[in-house]
């Protein structure tokens, strides 16, 4: 049975019809995946998105999907979304982020089957139903959602009514069900035809049967036949299906046009559908189908007159409560923009540097479209366009666009800064304007002014900022730090979300047993890069001693300070930090004592290496994000053990950092101001540390060197065994095999009868 007034059915149909320009954009990556912190979302605003819809838009990002930019534009232009509109657009985001466009057909069929069971003799083994139907050649690898939720709901309602009227054991009811089973058999592979009712049967049964015959043809993709039959029903004044039939005839034509092999082949059927739907809307007696017909007419318009439709929707979306179906209009608008501009922006964030196709000139006259397209455009010309628009209009949306694309030394920077400073702190533009004002000031070497703005904002307007926006400001404040305490305050941050980001869409995880509960304050990559590459070890020691850091970060900084100092043989620093490290990890005390007792550089080096071999979680680096989750003394199942030649990185980083590891490692890091005098020392230490190579290589070499000179040390065979183990479970490079074999050979040559040798059956490369 086909019903007329199901909103979800329209969404589903719109999706089927819009198959040529549909989601998703970027698809799944390979695992394994680990939960990590996202400090700044780049694909969408912060959750809950309802707050964004309500005007808390944070720092606007051009890589967000266009639907977010629509909401942002409305809020920036002083025309905030009404409560109804906010709910509607939040529902679009919810559907898209949760892949809600996928059907829940198991549930539809289950509900139908429950009602079906009430007919006598129908309880056992209901016929299987597949709601998807495979298309014919040349589209044989594609399917479409043929039977939608409303069909099952309508069938269930009709059957309930017929049971009530005729009884569950009545031949008329059983006949109705047998015909309906054939209708639903056609959802999938079936090509069933339904026989007409006998002339002497009840008039209602005969009318039902005529409707079922047309429906069976509709689902069997015999659209011309179905259209003729629905037309006939529409003319039958006695049929209870008469009112819907004209609409369903139009729907048959729409389906025919949408599923044509080629677009141009489908146009006549779509034009027919359009004419029929306009007819339905003019017919007052078909008022019950008007809402549904309007929706189908929109779908036809999307296919037949996309430019006109986009223009019309842009106009509607820009006026408060002008749309009767805001959700559908946002959906259609973004899909049409995808069609014109390619699929580079909606949902995926797109390719920032690639030039996008141009919109037809007629469409850029729409203020909303012009702003969305310019704001998301990363090309240099978009900066000039934005500035030009702002200079002419002096409106807030264009101020945000212009300042987002401006540079500190570029044209208009001074005027943009003045205009931004005059904007009220409660304005939805305030976070964007603050962030970019500070950026422009930093780019023009006006650090003090930038710091003043940040301190004022972080002090009194913090609540205005969603977590991503706050983290962006903290990133700026960290670079402007004048001392270690300021740096530490800005370096530790609350993530915007935790996610394994397995499909690149930055979907935060729901709470589960795998989600870290506490603590939820971590370092982002800009902070760890500073610790690992730009900070002398003595200063890392000082940071570890600071009470400013939260406990989990202090633990990490402390272990990094000791391991780094020990590798660099900075005895004073290592001894200084060992007390704190022992307090944090009492299991290390015995090994730290051995280190402190060691009197030569070689002995110290071996003592610290032996501790690292026993505790694979130790490393000379501070880790971004959630970090290593295995216990310090345990081997991590995913080889996050010991250390690599390069510092570890988190899944994400601030939007202004390069997410590409290779590029990020060669990019010049912005250095916090207070560290500038110590850059030479930091660089020397970092170079020395990198020179030791990956952890397992260093540990093997140290164990071998020690065992060679101190063969009687009882730790020597164990160290060699653990060194070989480190080459299996740790970070390796092209030298690792050589060192693994050397440690293995020495163990078996010098200590052949020890349990350590017996436990070491292989070496690794």
């Amino acid at each position: 049975m086909i019903r007329t007034n199901s909103y979800k059915a329209f969404i589903a149909l719109a999706l089927i019809i819009s198959v040529s320009f549909m989601l998703p954009r970027r698809t799944e990556a390979c695992g394994p995946f680990f939960t990590d912190a996202i400090f700044v979302y780049s694909k969408h605003p912060d959750f809950p998105l309802e707050k964004f819809a309500a005007g808390k838009i944070g720092v606007l990002t051009p890589s967000w999907a266009r639907s977010y930019l629509v909401a942002a534009y409305r809020n920036l232009s002083g025309n905030p979304l009404s409560e109804t509109e906010a709910k509607a657009i939040a529902s679009v985001w919810d559907d898209r982020l949760n892949n809600r466009f996928e059907s829940n057909d198991e549930q539809w069929i289950k509900s139908w089957t429950e009602v079906r069971k009430k007919v006598s003799g129908a309880a056992a083994a209901p016929p299987p139903i597949n709601v998807y139907r495979n298309r014919e050649k040349p589209h044989e690898y594609e399917s479409f959602l043929n039977c939608q939720q409303d069909a099952f709901q309508n069938a269930a309602a009709t059957l309930t009514e017929r049971i009530k009227r005729f009884g569950a054991d009545n031949e008329a009811t059983r006949g109705w069900l047998a015909a309906q089973d054939k209708v639903f058999a056609n959802c999938g592979l079936g090509n069933e035809t339904v026989d007409p009712a006998k002339a002497d049967q009840d008039a209602l049964i005969r009318a039902d049967r005529a409707y079922q015959i047309a429906a069976a043809n509709f689902y069997a993709t015999r659209y011309d036949e179905a259209t003729r039959q629905f037309d006939a029903i529409a003319k039958d004044a006695s049929s209870p299906w008469r009112e819907k039939a004209a609409y369903l005839a139009a729907r048959s034509m729409l389906r025919k046009g949408s599923l044509a092999d080629k677009d141009e082949e489908g146009r006549p059927a779509l034009a027919d559908a359009e004419a029929r739907l306009n007819g339905v809307l003019k017919d007052k007696s078909a008022a019950a189908s008007h809402h549904a017909a309007t929706r189908l007419l929109n779908i036809v318009g999307l296919r037949l007159h996309p430019e006109e439709k986009l223009h019309q929707i842009a106009h509607t979306l820009n006026r408060k409560d002008a749309s009767t179906d805001f959700k559908q209009d946002v959906w259609d608008y973004t899909i049409l923009l995808d069609k014109f501009l390619g699929d580079g922006s909606e949902e995926s964030g797109g390719t920032e540097t690639a030039a996008k196709p141009k919109l037809p000139a007629s469409l850029t006259s729409d203020e909303l479209t012009s702003w969305v397209v310019t704001f998301e455009d990363a090309q240099p010309a978009a900066a000039a366009t934005s500035l030009d628009h702002w200079e002419k209009s002096k409106t807030l949306p264009w101020l945000v666009a212009a300042i987002s694309k401006a540079s500190g030394q570029g044209p208009g920077a001074s005027a943009l800064l003045s205009a931004a400073a005059a904007v009220d702190h409660n304005s939805p533009a305030f976070p964007s304007l603050t962030y970019h004002s500070v950026r422009l000031l930093m780019e023009s070497n006006r650090q003090n002014e930038a710091r003043t703005i940040l301190d004022k904002t972080l002090g009194s307007d913090r609540a205005q900022f969603p977590p991503s926006a706050l983290n962006l400001l903290l990133g700026q404040r960290m670079i402007l730090a004048q001392n270690l305490e300021e740096f530490l305050h800005a370096a530790q941050r609350v993530p915007a979300g935790l996610s394994d980001d397995n499909d690149g869409r930055e979907i935060p995880e729901e709470d589960s047993k795998d989600t870290p509960k506490q603590p939820l304050i971590y370092f982002d990559r800009d902070a760890t890069n500073t610790f690992n590459r730009a900070m002398p070890v003595a200063l890392i020691d000082e940071a570890a001693s600071s009470k400013t850091l939260v406990a989990n970060l202090r633990k990490d900084v402390t272990q990094a300070a000791f391991v780094r100092a020990a590798i660099l043989d900075d005895r004073a620093t290592a001894n200084h930090i060992s007390g704190l490290l022992g307090d944090i990890y009492p299991q290390l005390k015995e090994f730290l004592a051995a280190y402190q007792k060691a009197s030569t550089p070689e002995a110290r080096r071996f003592a610290s290496a032996f501790m690292s071999l026993k505790f694979p979680g130790l490393r000379p680096y501070v880790t971004a994000g959630v970090g290593r989750t295995s216990a310090l003394e345990e081997i991590d199942s995913y080889r996050d053990n010991y250390w690599c030649a390069e510092p570890p990185a988190s899944l994400s980083g601030p939007a202004y950092q390069d997410s590409d590891e290779a590029k990020a490692s060669t990019k010049k890091l912005p250095t916090p101001e207070f560290l500038k005098p110590s850059q030479s020392l930091a660089a020397t230490q970092y170079a020395a540390l990198s020179g030791f190579g990956t952890g397992p290589n260093y540990l093997c070499q140290t164990a071998i060197a020690w065992a060679e000179k101190n063969p009687a040390d009882p730790r020597a065979p164990e160290a060699l065994h653990l060194a070989v183990r480190s080459t299996r479970y740790g970070c390796t490079d092209d030298q690792t095999g050589k060192w693994s074999k050397a440690a293995y050979d020495m163990l078996h040559r010098n200590y052949p009868n020890t349990n350590w040798a017996k436990a070491t059956k292989y070496w690794f490369k």
């Binding site: 549909m22 698809t27 040349p138 594609e142 580079g344 995913y638 996050d640 299996r728």
Partner: protein, 266 residues
């Protein structure tokens, strides 16, 4: 004389034993070799470059069908508690008539409502997967399932079931996490024609795998030595040119994108 005779007998006997052992070895090796040839033979019909066509509109009418084939996502199957949801491809896929195609199934498990992984669930899943072989012109199928440690036994049994249900001539390929091919091999005795090592989005394994490839180290798991899975946005060095490439594109396929893959293989 007797001693000489004994020596002769000993030599003949010794030689016979050696010959027998060698012959047995040769036979065994031949047997293994034969099996491997048959296994990889199913996939030899496929072109040297296969483009993954995921659930998005894909137009590849421009490809040279001798050099390039298409591994298209035919269905996505989600396991959740005791349920199985099968979603066929709904996005357009336009191909040349002569395109050589492989049907791919993506298997996903619900992280919240953990699947029961029952034998009934496995049977339904195996039927749905093997059913892809009935699609027109589909000579081989591929399973994409990032099975976790706890799902591995289920996946192993599933592969065995699918192989049993497939026509003998239909090749069975699976995608493999790089770790499965290197330090966590559980693939070697599976009845598969290949396991495609996925050399992109590798998280923690990325540097180690890159180093292995560049230093010429091969994968430990034998099924991983037929092909590579790469992505257009993560260039990989050190790949052996004789192996088939499966290529993922996070953006839309274009002629330029395909040319960029084929050019270095000329």
């Amino acid at each position: 004389m007797k001693q000489s005779f004994r020596k002769l007998i000993l030599i003949v006997a010794g030689a016979s034993v050696v010959l027998a052992v060698v012959a047995l070895g040769v036979t065994r090796n031949r047997s293994l070799l034969h099996r491997e040839v048959i296994a990889s033979g199913r996939l030899e019909r496929m072109p040297p470059v296969m483009l993954w066509a995921w659930e998005r509109p894909v137009d590849l009418r421009f490809i040279n069908t001798e050099k390039t084939g298409v591994a298209f996502l035919a269905q996505t199957i989600r396991l959740s508690a005791g349920e199985i949801a099968v979603r066929p491809r709904v996005q357009p896929l336009n191909l040349p008539e002569a395109a050589k195609v492989m049907a791919v199934v993506r298997v996903e498990t619900d992280a919240i409502k953990k699947p029961t992984l029952s034998s009934g669930q496995r049977e339904t899943l195996a039927v749905a997967i093997a059913g892809m072989a009935k699609l027109s012109r589909v000579a081989n199928i591929q399973i994409d399932f990032d099975a976790t440690q706890s799902e591995r036994a289920f996946y192993r049994d599933l592969i065995i079931d699918v192989r049993r249900k497939l026509p003998d001539a239909t090749g069975l390929s699976i995608t493999a996490l790089a770790s499965w091919c290197t330090y966590d091999d559980w693939l070697s005795d599976l009845p598969i024609d290949e396991a495609v090592p996925m050399l992109f989005r590798m998280a923690g394994d990325a540097k180690d795998i890159a180093r292995r490839l560049q230093s010429g180290d091969d994968f430990i798991a034998a099924p991983c030595r037929h092909s590579y899975g790469i992505s257009t946005d993560e260039p990989r060095a050190g790949l052996l040119p004789a192996r088939r490439l499966y290529v993922f594109n996070p953006d839309a396929w274009t002629e330029d994108a395909v040319r960029a893959i084929l050019e270095p293989r000329k």
